[in-house]
Amino acid sequence: MERYRAIIPEWEKFWETLVQPLPTVIRTNTLRIDPGTLRRRLEAKGFELRPLPWDPTCFEVTGEIPIGNTLEHWLGYYYVQEATQLLPVRALAPQPGERILDLCAAPGGKTTQIAQHIRDEGLLVANDASVKRIQALLANLYRLGVRCAVVTECPGENFPGEARFDRVLVDAPCSAEGVARRFPHLRRGAPLATIRRLAALQHKLLGRALKLVRPGGTVVYSTCTFAPEENEGVVKHVLDEGLAELVPWEPPVPHARGLSFFGEEEYGPELRKTVRLYPHHFNSEGGFLALLRRPA
Protein backbone atom coordinates (compact mmCIF):
# COMPACT_ATOMS: atom_id res chain seq x y z
CA MET A 1 0.00 0.00 0.00
CA GLU A 2 3.01 2.25 0.51
CA ARG A 3 2.81 3.39 -3.11
CA TYR A 4 -0.46 5.15 -2.28
CA ARG A 5 1.06 7.33 0.45
CA ALA A 6 1.13 10.35 -1.85
CA ILE A 7 -2.47 10.02 -3.06
CA ILE A 8 -4.42 8.98 0.03
CA PRO A 9 -5.21 11.99 2.22
CA GLU A 10 -4.43 11.73 5.97
CA TRP A 11 -2.24 8.71 5.40
CA GLU A 12 -1.65 7.97 9.11
CA LYS A 13 -5.36 8.05 9.87
CA PHE A 14 -6.03 5.83 6.86
CA TRP A 15 -3.50 3.29 8.11
CA GLU A 16 -4.86 3.38 11.68
CA THR A 17 -8.38 2.73 10.37
CA LEU A 18 -7.26 -0.37 8.47
CA VAL A 19 -6.57 -2.16 11.76
CA GLN A 20 -9.88 -1.15 13.36
CA PRO A 21 -12.81 -3.59 13.30
CA LEU A 22 -15.32 -2.88 10.56
CA PRO A 23 -18.90 -1.97 11.53
CA THR A 24 -21.54 -4.48 10.44
CA VAL A 25 -24.19 -2.98 8.19
CA ILE A 26 -27.41 -4.57 7.01
CA ARG A 27 -29.73 -3.49 4.23
CA THR A 28 -33.47 -4.05 4.75
CA ASN A 29 -34.98 -6.08 1.94
CA THR A 30 -37.81 -3.65 1.29
CA LEU A 31 -39.39 -6.16 -1.10
CA ARG A 32 -40.27 -8.27 1.96
CA ILE A 33 -40.37 -6.06 5.07
CA ASP A 34 -40.27 -2.41 6.13
CA PRO A 35 -37.23 -1.11 8.04
CA GLY A 36 -39.24 -0.29 11.20
CA THR A 37 -40.63 -3.81 11.55
CA LEU A 38 -37.23 -5.36 10.89
CA ARG A 39 -35.65 -3.10 13.51
CA ARG A 40 -38.25 -4.07 16.14
CA ARG A 41 -37.78 -7.78 15.41
CA LEU A 42 -34.00 -7.67 15.66
CA GLU A 43 -34.05 -5.48 18.76
CA ALA A 44 -36.31 -8.07 20.41
CA LYS A 45 -33.45 -10.53 19.81
CA GLY A 46 -30.95 -8.35 21.59
CA PHE A 47 -29.41 -6.50 18.62
CA GLU A 48 -28.76 -2.78 18.65
CA LEU A 49 -29.53 -1.03 15.38
CA ARG A 50 -28.62 2.48 14.28
CA PRO A 51 -29.97 3.69 10.92
CA LEU A 52 -27.36 5.06 8.51
CA PRO A 53 -27.91 8.84 8.38
CA TRP A 54 -27.93 8.78 4.58
CA ASP A 55 -30.04 5.65 4.07
CA PRO A 56 -32.75 4.83 6.64
CA THR A 57 -33.29 1.37 5.14
CA CYS A 58 -29.80 0.38 6.31
CA PHE A 59 -28.59 -0.15 9.86
CA GLU A 60 -25.30 -0.46 11.65
CA VAL A 61 -25.79 -3.48 13.90
CA THR A 62 -24.20 -4.85 17.04
CA GLY A 63 -25.26 -7.95 18.92
CA GLU A 64 -24.25 -11.05 20.84
CA ILE A 65 -24.63 -13.46 17.93
CA PRO A 66 -23.52 -13.14 14.28
CA ILE A 67 -26.06 -11.10 12.33
CA GLY A 68 -26.07 -13.73 9.58
CA ASN A 69 -27.47 -16.32 12.02
CA THR A 70 -31.02 -15.16 12.63
CA LEU A 71 -34.41 -16.33 11.45
CA GLU A 72 -34.93 -12.94 9.79
CA HIS A 73 -31.74 -13.33 7.75
CA TRP A 74 -32.74 -16.84 6.76
CA LEU A 75 -36.13 -15.50 5.66
CA GLY A 76 -34.44 -12.92 3.43
CA TYR A 77 -35.55 -9.85 5.36
CA TYR A 78 -32.11 -8.28 5.10
CA TYR A 79 -28.74 -8.52 3.41
CA VAL A 80 -25.45 -7.98 5.19
CA GLN A 81 -23.68 -5.39 3.06
CA GLU A 82 -20.77 -3.15 3.85
CA ALA A 83 -21.61 0.59 3.62
CA THR A 84 -19.27 1.37 0.70
CA GLN A 85 -20.90 -1.39 -1.35
CA LEU A 86 -24.24 0.40 -1.10
CA LEU A 87 -23.06 3.33 -3.20
CA PRO A 88 -22.67 1.98 -6.78
CA VAL A 89 -26.38 1.12 -7.07
CA ARG A 90 -27.26 4.50 -5.60
CA ALA A 91 -25.19 6.11 -8.36
CA LEU A 92 -26.79 3.85 -10.98
CA ALA A 93 -30.26 5.07 -9.86
CA PRO A 94 -32.24 2.30 -11.58
CA GLN A 95 -35.93 2.98 -12.16
CA PRO A 96 -38.95 0.61 -12.14
CA GLY A 97 -39.72 -0.87 -15.55
CA GLU A 98 -36.21 -0.42 -16.95
CA ARG A 99 -33.91 -3.02 -18.50
CA ILE A 100 -30.86 -3.34 -16.31
CA LEU A 101 -27.75 -5.49 -16.55
CA ASP A 102 -25.52 -6.36 -13.60
CA LEU A 103 -22.55 -7.62 -15.57
CA CYS A 104 -20.52 -9.19 -12.72
CA ALA A 105 -23.38 -9.94 -10.35
CA ALA A 106 -22.32 -12.69 -7.92
CA PRO A 107 -22.79 -13.01 -5.01
CA GLY A 108 -25.74 -10.68 -5.48
CA GLY A 109 -25.56 -7.87 -2.92
CA LYS A 110 -25.87 -5.14 -5.51
CA THR A 111 -28.23 -7.20 -7.70
CA THR A 112 -30.74 -7.54 -4.89
CA GLN A 113 -30.29 -3.84 -4.10
CA ILE A 114 -31.14 -2.98 -7.73
CA ALA A 115 -34.25 -5.19 -7.48
CA GLN A 116 -35.34 -3.15 -4.46
CA HIS A 117 -34.76 0.16 -6.28
CA ILE A 118 -36.92 -0.94 -9.20
CA ARG A 119 -39.50 -2.49 -6.82
CA ASP A 120 -39.07 -5.83 -8.59
CA GLU A 121 -40.55 -4.34 -11.77
CA GLY A 122 -38.57 -4.50 -15.00
CA LEU A 123 -35.89 -6.76 -16.41
CA LEU A 124 -32.83 -7.31 -14.25
CA VAL A 125 -30.24 -9.51 -15.94
CA ALA A 126 -27.80 -10.77 -13.31
CA ASN A 127 -24.79 -12.15 -15.12
CA ASP A 128 -21.62 -13.80 -13.95
CA ALA A 129 -18.81 -15.73 -15.60
CA SER A 130 -18.39 -18.36 -12.89
CA VAL A 131 -20.83 -21.23 -12.32
CA LYS A 132 -19.54 -21.61 -8.77
CA ARG A 133 -20.20 -17.99 -7.93
CA ILE A 134 -23.60 -18.16 -9.63
CA GLN A 135 -24.67 -20.67 -6.96
CA ALA A 136 -24.16 -18.00 -4.30
CA LEU A 137 -25.97 -15.47 -6.49
CA LEU A 138 -28.97 -17.79 -6.91
CA ALA A 139 -29.12 -18.52 -3.19
CA ASN A 140 -29.26 -14.81 -2.38
CA LEU A 141 -31.82 -13.99 -5.07
CA TYR A 142 -34.11 -16.82 -3.94
CA ARG A 143 -33.65 -16.00 -0.26
CA LEU A 144 -34.56 -12.36 -0.82
CA GLY A 145 -37.43 -13.37 -3.12
CA VAL A 146 -36.34 -11.37 -6.19
CA ARG A 147 -38.74 -12.11 -9.06
CA CYS A 148 -37.51 -9.75 -11.78
CA ALA A 149 -34.01 -11.22 -12.10
CA VAL A 150 -32.86 -13.50 -14.89
CA VAL A 151 -29.53 -15.11 -14.01
CA THR A 152 -27.19 -15.67 -16.94
CA GLU A 153 -23.76 -17.22 -17.26
CA CYS A 154 -21.37 -15.54 -19.66
CA PRO A 155 -17.90 -14.00 -19.47
CA GLY A 156 -18.89 -10.35 -19.10
CA GLU A 157 -16.55 -9.17 -21.83
CA ASN A 158 -18.40 -11.45 -24.28
CA PHE A 159 -21.99 -10.70 -23.23
CA PRO A 160 -23.84 -10.56 -26.56
CA GLY A 161 -25.87 -7.73 -28.02
CA GLU A 162 -25.89 -4.02 -28.60
CA ALA A 163 -27.81 -1.19 -26.93
CA ARG A 164 -30.18 -3.56 -25.15
CA PHE A 165 -30.15 -2.10 -21.61
CA ASP A 166 -31.08 1.23 -20.04
CA ARG A 167 -28.43 0.89 -17.33
CA VAL A 168 -25.48 -1.37 -16.71
CA LEU A 169 -23.53 -1.94 -13.52
CA VAL A 170 -19.93 -3.11 -13.85
CA ASP A 171 -18.83 -4.01 -10.34
CA ALA A 172 -15.62 -5.40 -11.66
CA PRO A 173 -13.40 -8.19 -10.31
CA CYS A 174 -10.48 -6.32 -8.76
CA SER A 175 -7.45 -6.63 -6.51
CA ALA A 176 -9.73 -5.88 -3.53
CA GLU A 177 -7.29 -3.69 -1.59
CA GLY A 178 -10.28 -1.73 -0.28
CA VAL A 179 -11.45 -4.63 1.88
CA ALA A 180 -8.19 -4.88 3.83
CA ARG A 181 -9.99 -4.25 7.12
CA ARG A 182 -11.72 -7.61 6.76
CA PHE A 183 -8.78 -9.45 5.24
CA PRO A 184 -5.50 -8.33 6.85
CA HIS A 185 -3.22 -9.98 4.28
CA LEU A 186 -4.50 -7.42 1.74
CA ARG A 187 -2.84 -4.62 3.73
CA ARG A 188 0.34 -5.47 1.86
CA GLY A 189 -1.34 -4.28 -1.33
CA ALA A 190 -1.76 -6.29 -4.51
CA PRO A 191 1.19 -7.24 -6.76
CA LEU A 192 1.55 -4.98 -9.79
CA ALA A 193 1.32 -7.93 -12.16
CA THR A 194 -2.11 -8.80 -10.71
CA ILE A 195 -3.23 -5.20 -10.94
CA ARG A 196 -2.21 -4.99 -14.63
CA ARG A 197 -3.87 -8.30 -15.47
CA LEU A 198 -7.10 -7.19 -13.80
CA ALA A 199 -6.97 -3.76 -15.45
CA ALA A 200 -6.90 -5.40 -18.88
CA LEU A 201 -10.00 -7.47 -18.01
CA GLN A 202 -11.74 -4.47 -16.46
CA HIS A 203 -11.19 -2.45 -19.64
CA LYS A 204 -12.82 -5.21 -21.68
CA LEU A 205 -15.76 -5.42 -19.28
CA LEU A 206 -16.37 -1.68 -19.25
CA GLY A 207 -15.99 -1.45 -23.02
CA ARG A 208 -18.59 -4.21 -23.49
CA ALA A 209 -20.94 -2.58 -20.98
CA LEU A 210 -20.79 0.67 -22.94
CA LYS A 211 -21.83 -1.22 -26.08
CA LEU A 212 -24.64 -3.01 -24.26
CA VAL A 213 -26.22 0.16 -22.87
CA ARG A 214 -28.46 2.22 -25.14
CA PRO A 215 -27.16 5.61 -26.37
CA GLY A 216 -27.73 8.07 -23.55
CA GLY A 217 -27.92 5.19 -21.07
CA THR A 218 -26.00 4.97 -17.80
CA VAL A 219 -23.08 2.75 -16.80
CA VAL A 220 -21.59 2.65 -13.31
CA TYR A 221 -18.09 1.27 -13.02
CA SER A 222 -17.03 0.33 -9.49
CA THR A 223 -14.23 -1.52 -7.74
CA CYS A 224 -13.14 -2.13 -4.18
CA THR A 225 -9.51 -1.31 -4.75
CA PHE A 226 -7.26 1.73 -4.43
CA ALA A 227 -5.10 0.89 -7.45
CA PRO A 228 -5.36 3.79 -9.95
CA GLU A 229 -4.53 1.42 -12.81
CA GLU A 230 -7.80 -0.44 -12.09
CA ASN A 231 -9.79 2.73 -11.51
CA GLU A 232 -8.94 6.01 -13.22
CA GLY A 233 -6.74 4.14 -15.71
CA VAL A 234 -9.62 1.96 -16.94
CA VAL A 235 -12.06 4.86 -17.16
CA LYS A 236 -9.52 7.02 -19.01
CA HIS A 237 -9.11 4.24 -21.55
CA VAL A 238 -12.81 4.17 -22.53
CA LEU A 239 -13.00 7.98 -22.53
CA ASP A 240 -10.09 8.09 -24.94
CA GLU A 241 -11.88 5.58 -27.16
CA GLY A 242 -14.90 7.87 -27.29
CA LEU A 243 -17.14 5.21 -25.78
CA ALA A 244 -18.38 7.28 -22.85
CA GLU A 245 -18.57 10.61 -21.13
CA LEU A 246 -18.18 11.09 -17.39
CA VAL A 247 -21.03 12.39 -15.29
CA PRO A 248 -20.23 14.06 -11.95
CA TRP A 249 -21.76 12.32 -8.96
CA GLU A 250 -21.80 13.39 -5.33
CA PRO A 251 -22.00 10.52 -2.85
CA PRO A 252 -23.91 11.14 0.41
CA VAL A 253 -20.74 10.32 2.41
CA PRO A 254 -17.33 11.96 2.87
CA HIS A 255 -15.08 11.01 -0.05
CA ALA A 256 -12.21 12.10 -2.25
CA ARG A 257 -12.36 12.93 -5.94
CA GLY A 258 -10.66 10.76 -8.56
CA LEU A 259 -7.02 11.32 -9.45
CA SER A 260 -5.90 13.47 -12.38
CA PHE A 261 -2.52 11.75 -12.29
CA PHE A 262 -0.64 8.99 -10.47
CA GLY A 263 3.13 8.92 -10.60
CA GLU A 264 4.02 9.59 -14.20
CA GLU A 265 0.61 8.54 -15.46
CA GLU A 266 -1.61 11.48 -16.54
CA TYR A 267 -5.34 10.85 -16.33
CA GLY A 268 -6.45 14.46 -16.82
CA PRO A 269 -8.79 16.75 -14.86
CA GLU A 270 -11.90 15.04 -16.26
CA LEU A 271 -11.19 12.08 -13.97
CA ARG A 272 -11.86 14.33 -10.97
CA LYS A 273 -15.53 13.56 -11.67
CA THR A 274 -14.98 10.05 -10.38
CA VAL A 275 -15.18 9.13 -6.69
CA ARG A 276 -12.65 7.58 -4.33
CA LEU A 277 -13.85 6.11 -1.04
CA TYR A 278 -11.44 5.66 1.84
CA PRO A 279 -11.98 3.71 5.09
CA HIS A 280 -11.09 6.61 7.38
CA HIS A 281 -13.61 8.99 5.80
CA PHE A 282 -16.73 7.26 7.07
CA ASN A 283 -15.50 4.21 8.97
CA SER A 284 -16.00 1.85 6.06
CA GLU A 285 -14.08 -0.12 3.47
CA GLY A 286 -12.60 1.54 0.41
CA GLY A 287 -13.48 1.71 -3.25
CA PHE A 288 -13.90 3.66 -6.44
CA LEU A 289 -16.78 4.48 -8.69
CA ALA A 290 -17.43 6.31 -11.91
CA LEU A 291 -20.77 7.32 -13.39
CA LEU A 292 -20.62 7.18 -17.19
CA ARG A 293 -23.03 7.91 -19.99
CA ARG A 294 -22.92 6.45 -23.48
CA PRO A 295 -22.95 9.36 -25.91
CA ALA A 296 -26.38 9.76 -27.55
Binding site: K110, L124, L141, R143, G145, R147, C148, V150, E153, C154
Partner: protein, 325 residues
Protein backbone atom coordinates in the same frame (compact mmCIF):
# COMPACT_ATOMS: atom_id res chain seq x y z
CA UNK B 1 -43.87 -34.43 -20.28
CA UNK B 2 -47.27 -32.73 -19.85
CA UNK B 3 -48.03 -29.68 -21.98
CA UNK B 4 -47.44 -26.16 -20.68
CA UNK B 5 -51.23 -25.66 -20.41
CA UNK B 6 -51.62 -28.87 -18.37
CA UNK B 7 -48.81 -27.80 -16.05
CA UNK B 8 -50.34 -24.35 -15.61
CA UNK B 9 -53.68 -25.96 -14.78
CA UNK B 10 -52.04 -28.22 -12.21
CA UNK B 11 -50.16 -25.26 -10.74
CA UNK B 12 -53.45 -23.34 -10.42
CA UNK B 13 -54.99 -26.30 -8.58
CA UNK B 14 -52.06 -26.45 -6.15
CA UNK B 15 -52.23 -22.72 -5.53
CA UNK B 16 -55.96 -22.94 -4.90
CA UNK B 17 -55.35 -25.68 -2.36
CA UNK B 18 -52.89 -23.35 -0.60
CA UNK B 19 -55.51 -20.59 -0.66
CA UNK B 20 -53.33 -18.34 -2.84
CA UNK B 21 -55.72 -16.03 -4.64
CA UNK B 22 -53.35 -13.85 -6.62
CA UNK B 23 -49.89 -14.73 -7.86
CA UNK B 24 -47.32 -11.90 -7.66
CA UNK B 25 -46.00 -12.45 -11.17
CA UNK B 26 -46.37 -14.83 -14.09
CA UNK B 27 -45.43 -18.48 -14.40
CA UNK B 28 -42.75 -19.40 -16.92
CA UNK B 29 -41.84 -22.96 -17.92
CA UNK B 30 -38.13 -23.50 -18.17
CA UNK B 31 -36.22 -26.76 -17.80
CA UNK B 32 -37.78 -28.97 -15.13
CA UNK B 33 -39.48 -26.10 -13.34
CA UNK B 34 -42.22 -23.50 -13.31
CA UNK B 35 -40.76 -20.14 -12.34
CA UNK B 36 -42.50 -17.15 -10.81
CA UNK B 37 -41.23 -13.95 -12.36
CA UNK B 38 -42.04 -10.33 -13.10
CA UNK B 39 -39.39 -10.11 -15.84
CA UNK B 40 -41.09 -9.09 -19.10
CA UNK B 41 -38.75 -11.19 -21.24
CA UNK B 42 -35.99 -13.79 -21.03
CA UNK B 43 -32.78 -13.35 -23.06
CA UNK B 44 -32.38 -16.26 -25.48
CA UNK B 45 -28.83 -15.60 -26.73
CA UNK B 46 -27.05 -16.39 -23.48
CA UNK B 47 -27.11 -19.30 -21.03
CA UNK B 48 -29.92 -18.79 -18.51
CA UNK B 49 -29.77 -20.33 -15.02
CA UNK B 50 -32.95 -18.97 -13.50
CA UNK B 51 -35.94 -16.74 -14.17
CA UNK B 52 -37.24 -15.19 -10.96
CA UNK B 53 -37.91 -17.75 -8.23
CA UNK B 54 -38.58 -21.43 -8.87
CA UNK B 55 -42.14 -22.09 -7.67
CA UNK B 56 -42.72 -25.71 -8.73
CA UNK B 57 -40.49 -28.57 -9.76
CA UNK B 58 -41.91 -30.95 -12.32
CA UNK B 59 -41.64 -34.48 -10.96
CA UNK B 60 -42.88 -37.87 -12.16
CA UNK B 61 -45.93 -37.77 -9.91
CA UNK B 62 -46.71 -34.11 -10.63
CA UNK B 63 -45.70 -30.66 -9.44
CA UNK B 64 -43.91 -30.15 -6.16
CA UNK B 65 -43.92 -26.68 -4.57
CA UNK B 66 -40.46 -25.40 -3.68
CA UNK B 67 -39.52 -24.08 -0.27
CA UNK B 68 -38.25 -20.77 -1.67
CA UNK B 69 -41.51 -20.44 -3.60
CA UNK B 70 -43.66 -21.00 -0.51
CA UNK B 71 -41.47 -18.64 1.50
CA UNK B 72 -41.96 -15.97 -1.17
CA UNK B 73 -45.75 -16.48 -1.24
CA UNK B 74 -45.70 -16.13 2.58
CA UNK B 75 -48.86 -14.47 3.88
CA UNK B 76 -50.64 -15.14 0.57
CA UNK B 77 -50.85 -18.76 1.69
CA UNK B 78 -54.14 -19.04 3.54
CA UNK B 79 -54.61 -22.83 3.64
CA UNK B 80 -52.43 -25.86 4.31
CA UNK B 81 -50.32 -23.86 6.75
CA UNK B 82 -48.87 -25.97 9.57
CA UNK B 83 -47.80 -23.84 12.53
CA UNK B 84 -44.87 -25.34 14.43
CA UNK B 85 -42.99 -24.57 17.63
CA UNK B 86 -39.25 -23.93 17.51
CA UNK B 87 -38.63 -27.35 19.02
CA UNK B 88 -40.77 -29.00 16.32
CA UNK B 89 -38.99 -27.08 13.58
CA UNK B 90 -35.65 -28.24 14.96
CA UNK B 91 -36.91 -31.84 14.93
CA UNK B 92 -37.95 -31.54 11.28
CA UNK B 93 -34.70 -29.85 10.34
CA UNK B 94 -32.85 -32.75 11.93
CA UNK B 95 -34.55 -35.04 9.42
CA UNK B 96 -37.11 -36.54 11.80
CA UNK B 97 -40.84 -36.86 11.20
CA UNK B 98 -43.51 -35.47 13.50
CA UNK B 99 -46.73 -37.23 14.32
CA UNK B 100 -49.48 -34.75 13.44
CA UNK B 101 -52.87 -36.42 12.93
CA UNK B 102 -55.65 -34.53 11.20
CA UNK B 103 -53.57 -32.60 8.67
CA UNK B 104 -54.50 -32.54 4.96
CA UNK B 105 -52.51 -35.10 2.97
CA UNK B 106 -49.80 -33.95 0.55
CA UNK B 107 -47.71 -30.82 0.48
CA UNK B 108 -48.10 -28.17 3.18
CA UNK B 109 -46.44 -24.90 4.14
CA UNK B 110 -44.33 -25.25 7.29
CA UNK B 111 -44.68 -22.13 9.39
CA UNK B 112 -42.87 -20.73 12.41
CA UNK B 113 -44.17 -17.72 14.32
CA UNK B 114 -46.45 -16.94 11.39
CA UNK B 115 -43.67 -17.08 8.77
CA UNK B 116 -43.75 -19.60 5.94
CA UNK B 117 -40.44 -21.49 6.09
CA UNK B 118 -40.93 -23.88 3.20
CA UNK B 119 -42.42 -27.12 2.07
CA UNK B 120 -43.48 -30.08 4.17
CA UNK B 121 -45.26 -33.27 3.25
CA UNK B 122 -47.99 -35.09 5.14
CA UNK B 123 -48.41 -38.85 4.69
CA UNK B 124 -50.93 -40.49 6.99
CA UNK B 125 -50.24 -38.97 10.38
CA UNK B 126 -46.60 -38.18 9.66
CA UNK B 127 -45.28 -34.75 8.81
CA UNK B 128 -41.87 -34.56 7.13
CA UNK B 129 -39.86 -31.50 6.14
CA UNK B 130 -38.92 -30.97 2.49
CA UNK B 131 -36.60 -27.99 2.96
CA UNK B 132 -33.30 -28.56 1.11
CA UNK B 133 -30.41 -29.82 3.24
CA UNK B 134 -28.21 -26.71 3.00
CA UNK B 135 -31.07 -24.43 4.00
CA UNK B 136 -32.00 -26.80 6.84
CA UNK B 137 -28.49 -26.57 8.23
CA UNK B 138 -28.50 -22.78 8.04
CA UNK B 139 -31.81 -22.55 9.88
CA UNK B 140 -30.72 -25.09 12.47
CA UNK B 141 -27.68 -22.92 13.19
CA UNK B 142 -29.77 -19.74 13.29
CA UNK B 143 -32.26 -21.22 15.74
CA UNK B 144 -29.46 -22.59 17.93
CA UNK B 145 -27.74 -19.19 17.93
CA UNK B 146 -30.96 -17.34 18.66
CA UNK B 147 -31.48 -19.73 21.56
CA UNK B 148 -28.60 -17.95 23.28
CA UNK B 149 -30.34 -14.58 23.27
CA UNK B 150 -34.00 -15.60 23.48
CA UNK B 151 -35.53 -16.46 26.88
CA UNK B 152 -33.99 -19.64 28.37
CA UNK B 153 -36.11 -22.80 28.77
CA UNK B 154 -36.20 -22.33 32.52
CA UNK B 155 -38.05 -19.08 31.92
CA UNK B 156 -40.56 -20.12 29.29
CA UNK B 157 -40.75 -23.84 28.81
CA UNK B 158 -42.58 -25.02 31.88
CA UNK B 159 -46.03 -23.74 30.97
CA UNK B 160 -46.51 -22.37 34.46
CA UNK B 161 -45.17 -18.91 33.81
CA UNK B 162 -43.02 -18.89 36.94
CA UNK B 163 -39.99 -20.89 35.80
CA UNK B 164 -38.92 -24.43 36.78
CA UNK B 165 -38.79 -24.65 40.50
CA UNK B 166 -39.29 -28.23 41.61
CA UNK B 167 -36.61 -30.92 41.48
CA UNK B 168 -38.93 -32.88 39.22
CA UNK B 169 -39.21 -30.00 36.75
CA UNK B 170 -35.47 -29.41 36.74
CA UNK B 171 -34.81 -33.08 36.05
CA UNK B 172 -37.39 -33.18 33.27
CA UNK B 173 -35.79 -30.11 31.68
CA UNK B 174 -32.37 -31.75 31.88
CA UNK B 175 -33.68 -34.99 30.32
CA UNK B 176 -35.17 -32.98 27.47
CA UNK B 177 -31.82 -31.25 26.92
CA UNK B 178 -29.95 -34.53 26.79
CA UNK B 179 -32.50 -36.11 24.46
CA UNK B 180 -32.33 -33.17 22.07
CA UNK B 181 -28.56 -33.42 22.08
CA UNK B 182 -28.70 -37.15 21.43
CA UNK B 183 -31.09 -36.68 18.48
CA UNK B 184 -28.95 -33.93 17.04
CA UNK B 185 -25.68 -35.89 17.23
CA UNK B 186 -27.32 -39.07 16.00
CA UNK B 187 -28.53 -37.24 12.91
CA UNK B 188 -25.13 -35.58 12.47
CA UNK B 189 -23.49 -39.02 12.64
CA UNK B 190 -25.82 -40.31 9.92
CA UNK B 191 -25.14 -37.36 7.62
CA UNK B 192 -21.36 -37.08 8.11
CA UNK B 193 -19.34 -38.43 5.20
CA UNK B 194 -16.02 -38.99 6.93
CA UNK B 195 -15.83 -42.18 9.05
CA UNK B 196 -13.71 -40.43 11.72
CA UNK B 197 -16.15 -37.57 12.09
CA UNK B 198 -19.06 -39.99 12.10
CA UNK B 199 -17.46 -41.70 15.08
CA UNK B 200 -17.07 -38.41 16.95
CA UNK B 201 -20.73 -37.54 16.50
CA UNK B 202 -21.79 -41.11 17.35
CA UNK B 203 -19.77 -40.94 20.56
CA UNK B 204 -21.35 -37.64 21.51
CA UNK B 205 -24.79 -39.13 20.80
CA UNK B 206 -23.97 -42.10 23.09
CA UNK B 207 -22.82 -39.79 25.86
CA UNK B 208 -25.95 -37.67 25.66
CA UNK B 209 -28.01 -40.89 25.71
CA UNK B 210 -26.18 -42.05 28.85
CA UNK B 211 -26.83 -38.71 30.54
CA UNK B 212 -30.49 -38.96 29.62
CA UNK B 213 -30.78 -42.50 30.99
CA UNK B 214 -29.02 -41.59 34.21
CA UNK B 215 -31.26 -38.55 34.76
CA UNK B 216 -34.35 -40.61 33.89
CA UNK B 217 -33.34 -43.13 36.57
CA UNK B 218 -33.02 -40.34 39.11
CA UNK B 219 -36.42 -38.95 38.09
CA UNK B 220 -38.04 -42.38 38.45
CA UNK B 221 -36.58 -42.67 41.96
CA UNK B 222 -37.83 -39.21 42.85
CA UNK B 223 -41.33 -39.98 41.63
CA UNK B 224 -41.34 -43.35 43.43
CA UNK B 225 -39.98 -42.27 46.81
CA UNK B 226 -40.52 -38.51 46.80
CA UNK B 227 -36.82 -38.13 47.57
CA UNK B 228 -33.79 -37.48 45.43
CA UNK B 229 -31.29 -40.34 45.51
CA UNK B 230 -27.72 -39.53 46.36
CA UNK B 231 -25.76 -38.66 43.27
CA UNK B 232 -22.98 -40.95 42.17
CA UNK B 233 -20.93 -39.91 39.16
CA UNK B 234 -21.71 -41.89 35.98
CA UNK B 235 -18.72 -43.19 34.04
CA UNK B 236 -17.39 -40.83 31.39
CA UNK B 237 -15.27 -41.33 28.31
CA UNK B 238 -12.32 -39.10 27.57
CA UNK B 239 -13.84 -37.28 24.62
CA UNK B 240 -10.71 -35.32 23.79
CA UNK B 241 -8.92 -38.59 23.09
CA UNK B 242 -10.92 -38.97 19.88
CA UNK B 243 -9.64 -35.79 18.30
CA UNK B 244 -6.98 -37.47 16.20
CA UNK B 245 -5.26 -36.09 13.12
CA UNK B 246 -7.30 -38.48 10.96
CA UNK B 247 -10.51 -37.05 12.33
CA UNK B 248 -9.35 -33.49 11.73
CA UNK B 249 -8.40 -34.24 8.14
CA UNK B 250 -11.65 -36.08 7.47
CA UNK B 251 -13.90 -33.09 7.96
CA UNK B 252 -15.35 -31.58 4.84
CA UNK B 253 -14.85 -27.94 5.66
CA UNK B 254 -17.69 -26.50 3.56
CA UNK B 255 -20.04 -29.41 4.09
CA UNK B 256 -22.50 -30.73 6.60
CA UNK B 257 -19.86 -31.52 9.23
CA UNK B 258 -18.83 -27.88 9.53
CA UNK B 259 -22.41 -26.73 10.02
CA UNK B 260 -23.14 -29.51 12.50
CA UNK B 261 -20.06 -28.68 14.56
CA UNK B 262 -21.13 -25.07 14.75
CA UNK B 263 -24.70 -25.96 15.72
CA UNK B 264 -23.39 -28.50 18.25
CA UNK B 265 -21.28 -25.82 19.93
CA UNK B 266 -24.34 -23.60 20.37
CA UNK B 267 -26.27 -26.55 21.78
CA UNK B 268 -23.53 -27.43 24.28
CA UNK B 269 -23.07 -23.82 25.30
CA UNK B 270 -26.74 -23.60 26.14
CA UNK B 271 -26.67 -26.88 28.04
CA UNK B 272 -23.72 -25.72 30.16
CA UNK B 273 -25.50 -22.46 30.97
CA UNK B 274 -28.68 -24.34 31.86
CA UNK B 275 -26.93 -26.72 34.24
CA UNK B 276 -24.88 -23.98 35.88
CA UNK B 277 -27.94 -21.79 36.38
CA UNK B 278 -29.95 -24.61 37.95
CA UNK B 279 -27.01 -25.81 40.05
CA UNK B 280 -27.20 -22.49 41.91
CA UNK B 281 -30.84 -23.07 42.95
CA UNK B 282 -30.87 -26.86 43.50
CA UNK B 283 -30.39 -28.81 46.79
CA UNK B 284 -26.77 -29.95 47.37
CA UNK B 285 -26.92 -33.45 45.84
CA UNK B 286 -28.73 -32.22 42.72
CA UNK B 287 -26.48 -29.17 42.50
CA UNK B 288 -23.45 -31.46 42.44
CA UNK B 289 -25.02 -33.53 39.65
CA UNK B 290 -25.75 -30.43 37.59
CA UNK B 291 -22.28 -29.04 38.11
CA UNK B 292 -20.88 -32.38 36.98
CA UNK B 293 -23.13 -32.39 33.89
CA UNK B 294 -22.07 -28.81 33.13
CA UNK B 295 -18.43 -29.90 33.20
CA UNK B 296 -19.22 -32.91 31.04
CA UNK B 297 -21.06 -30.83 28.42
CA UNK B 298 -18.16 -28.40 28.57
CA UNK B 299 -15.81 -31.19 27.41
CA UNK B 300 -18.13 -31.69 24.42
CA UNK B 301 -17.97 -27.99 23.66
CA UNK B 302 -14.17 -28.04 23.96
CA UNK B 303 -13.99 -30.89 21.47
CA UNK B 304 -16.28 -29.16 18.98
CA UNK B 305 -14.43 -25.88 19.43
CA UNK B 306 -11.13 -27.58 18.62
CA UNK B 307 -12.68 -29.06 15.47
CA UNK B 308 -14.15 -25.69 14.52
CA UNK B 309 -10.80 -23.96 14.92
CA UNK B 310 -9.26 -26.62 12.70
CA UNK B 311 -11.82 -25.81 10.02
CA UNK B 312 -11.53 -22.05 9.88
CA UNK B 313 -8.66 -21.77 7.43
CA UNK B 314 -9.95 -24.59 5.27
CA UNK B 315 -13.42 -23.10 4.90
CA UNK B 316 -11.71 -19.95 3.71
CA UNK B 317 -9.80 -21.75 1.00
CA UNK B 318 -12.60 -24.05 -0.13
CA UNK B 319 -15.14 -21.27 -0.59
CA UNK B 320 -12.74 -19.18 -2.63
CA UNK B 321 -11.79 -15.62 -1.97
CA UNK B 322 -14.00 -12.99 -3.58
CA UNK B 323 -14.64 -10.16 -1.17
CA UNK B 324 -16.70 -7.84 -3.37
CA UNK B 325 -19.94 -7.69 -1.39
Amino acid sequence: MPSYEDLLEEARRHLEEFGVQELPGRLVLRGDSLWLTTAPEVPEDVRVHSVGVRLFRIQNHGLKPTSFGLMLLGARIKKRRVELTRAEVQELLSGRTLRRPGLPQGYVALCLEGEALGCGEVRGESLRGQIPLGRRQELLIALAQEGKVLPKPSQYNDGKGAGMKTQEDVLKGAILFEERGRIFYEHAAQEAKSPGVREVFALLAQEEGRHRDYLAKMLAGLLRTGKMENFSRPASDMVSAVLTEDVKKGIEAAGFEAAAIYAGMALEERAVAYYRENAKKAPPNLAELFEFLAQWEQTHWDLLFALDEELRQRIWHERGFWPLD
